[in-house]
């Protein structure tokens, strides 16, 4: 009992010290909030290789967040935020989801001025609740990014990221093989370039390569069965569909255009083409086109 009491007091002291350290930061913090609405069409939600197995659908997503922006030193900033998001699909409503999200970005400039190079460490986490319980999961992505502004018009950045998704439900379809379909992890490399011909208009292009787990949904098949590390029934796309977790490499290219309505909001259109090479020669492609409105105050 005494030991537990001491441990509790110790933890309280640690929390108090952390709080005391945070007070000077908070004194110079600034609250912010934001919202976004996104409409998208994904032509291969199943991430299937065969044309007959591909399922496309449109989705509408909306969300909001609140956060705090801190300036701990002349060249560093820290931004933390928490928010909610909801996504609804037109046809495959089992994919509808709501999520609680948290995000933190520490950014440091290596010099003075807008053109000084910078590095950033970003962590995103979410708790996702789908209508289809097998997809329920918790996600974390940590990214290390570096970038620089070449002029007022051009900027470039790049980095690496690790993503982890932990499934909350596992429904094995095959004895001896995991049913935790959405227990996935991956590592990515990415580069991005932005060109703003005017302060209102921004064009972006980015490339990303990710090596890790992917989940494809198809009818039963021996070749995919043999290379899968997890298998579960996936009724979201039909009664005879199964989800297979595979190792794969995805390369994706995105082009985007953003039009600033004012200094707080923008309209964006975006197109992403992703190509995945998975185990046993299973390849698939996915195209996503989206339009969104974003607000940040």
């Amino acid at each position: 009992m005494v030991v537990r009491c001491c441990a509790f007091v110790g933890r309280m002291r640690l929390a108090a010290a952390a709080l005391a350290a945070a007070v000077p930061l908070c004194a110079h913090g600034e609250p912010f909030y934001g919202a976004d609405v996104r409409y998208a069409y994904d032509d291969n939600l199943t991430l299937a290789s065969a044309a007959a197995d591909r399922r496309g659908d449109s989705l509408l997503a909306a969300g909001g967040y609140v956060g705090q922006f801190f300036v701990p030193s002349r060249d560093a900033t820290l931004e933390v935020s928490a928010g909610v998001h909801a996504t609804g699909y037109a046809r495959f409503t089992s994919l509808d989801e709501a999520s609680l999200e948290a995000s933190g970005t520490w950014r440091r400039k290596l010099g003075l001025g807008y053109a000084a190079p910078w590095i950033a460490l970003r962590a995103d986490a979410s708790h996702d609740d789908y209508r289809d319980d097998i997809r329920d999961s918790d996600r974390v992505e940590i990214a290390l990014v570096a970038g620089t502004r070449l002029s007022e018009r051009f900027d470039v950045s790049g980095g690496l990221a690790h993503d982890r998704r932990v499934a909350r439900n596992a429904v094995p379809a095959v004895p001896g093989i995991s049913g935790a379909l959405y227990d996935v992890a991956g590592d990515s490399l990415f580069v991005r370039g932005g060109y703003a011909p005017t302060p209102k208009l921004l064009f972006e292009a980015s490339l990303r390569a990710r090596r890790g787990d992917v989940v494809a949904t198809t009818p039963e098949g021996l070749s995919i069965f043999l290379v899968s590390s997890a298998i579960a029934a996936d009724p979201a796309f039909g009664p005879d569909r199964y989800g297979y977790r595979l190792r794969g490499t995805t390369t994706s290219a995105t082009i985007a255009m953003s039009y600033a309505i004012d200094e707080r909001s923008a309209l964006n259109v975006e197109f992403t083409h992703a190509s995945t090479s998975a185990a046993a020669g299973l390849d698939y492609r996915e195209n996503v086109v989206s339009a969104s409105w974003v607000l940040r105050y």
Binding site: V184, E263, A266
Partner: protein, 219 residues
């Protein structure tokens, strides 16, 4: 003779008053499409240096409000000091790399203890190391006679002595040389001179403030 004095006074007084009446330069600045240009600095430099004998530098102020410099363009007389009060809840770190004045105000909230002295004529471009989109300009004039155009492109330099002036215009987006805008104007006592300047302007160059594109992961 004594009887004539009031008569002489009546005749000479208006003439003396007219001789000392201040003159005015009214400038209108437009772009190549004849649209009014705001935030242009109009400077009148007298060819007679003696008119500047009484000119004194001033204590000026340039605010930061909603993470912008307000006003965006601020003309000051050389030798003046400028304070940079921060009205935001977040700290700013104001700097300039301009040859006319290199300085840095390390991260601060409220009003920095010391204002900055601008002792060399020229254009000083301001930035904030925390908010890259923030940009402001201090135009340090060698002459105490200057004004900034309003939204209608109008600027008035009042209380000028009757002298010859070289008038020129500067704007952050002008593509030409400031010296090429020079006009010579000789003011008679109480005269108002109207000048129109046409500037070729480049599109505004500044770091975008609006939110951009956030990419979703695909896996």
């Amino acid at each position: 003779m004594h009887r004539l004095l009031p008569f002489v006074f009546l005749v000479l007084a208006p003439a003396l008053a007219l001789a000392q009446a201040p003159s005015t330069i009214h400038a209108t600045v437009v772009d190549a499409q004849s649209h009014p240009v705001a935030d242009a600095v109009v400077v009148a430099v007298s060819t007679d240096p003696s008119v500047m004998a009484d000119a004194r530098p001033r204590a000026e102020s340039l605010d930061q409000i909603d993470k912008e410099f307000v006003p965006k363009v601020k003309p000051v007389f050389v030798g003046s000091t400028v304070a940079f009060p921060n009205h935001d809840n977040v700290r700013h770190h104001v700097y300039s790399f301009s040859p006319a004045k290199r300085f840095e105000l390390p991260l601060y909230a409220g009003v920095p203890a010391q204002p900055v002295l601008f002792d060399k004529p020229g254009v000083v471009v301001l930035g904030c190391n925390i908010h890259d989109w923030m940009i402001g300009y201090i135009y340090v004039s060698e002459s105490p006679f200057y004004a900034k155009t309003d939204a209608r492109g109008h600027a008035t330099i009042a209380d000028l002595p009757a002298r010859t002036f070289v008038v020129r215009v500067w704007h952050p987006q002008m593509t030409g040389n400031e010296a090429d805008t020079r006009r010579r104007v000789t003011l008679a006592p109480g005269q108002r001179a109207d000048l129109t300047f046409t500037l070729a302007l480049a599109p505004e160059q500044r770091v975008r403030r609006a939110p951009g594109v956030e990419h979703a992961s695909h896996y």
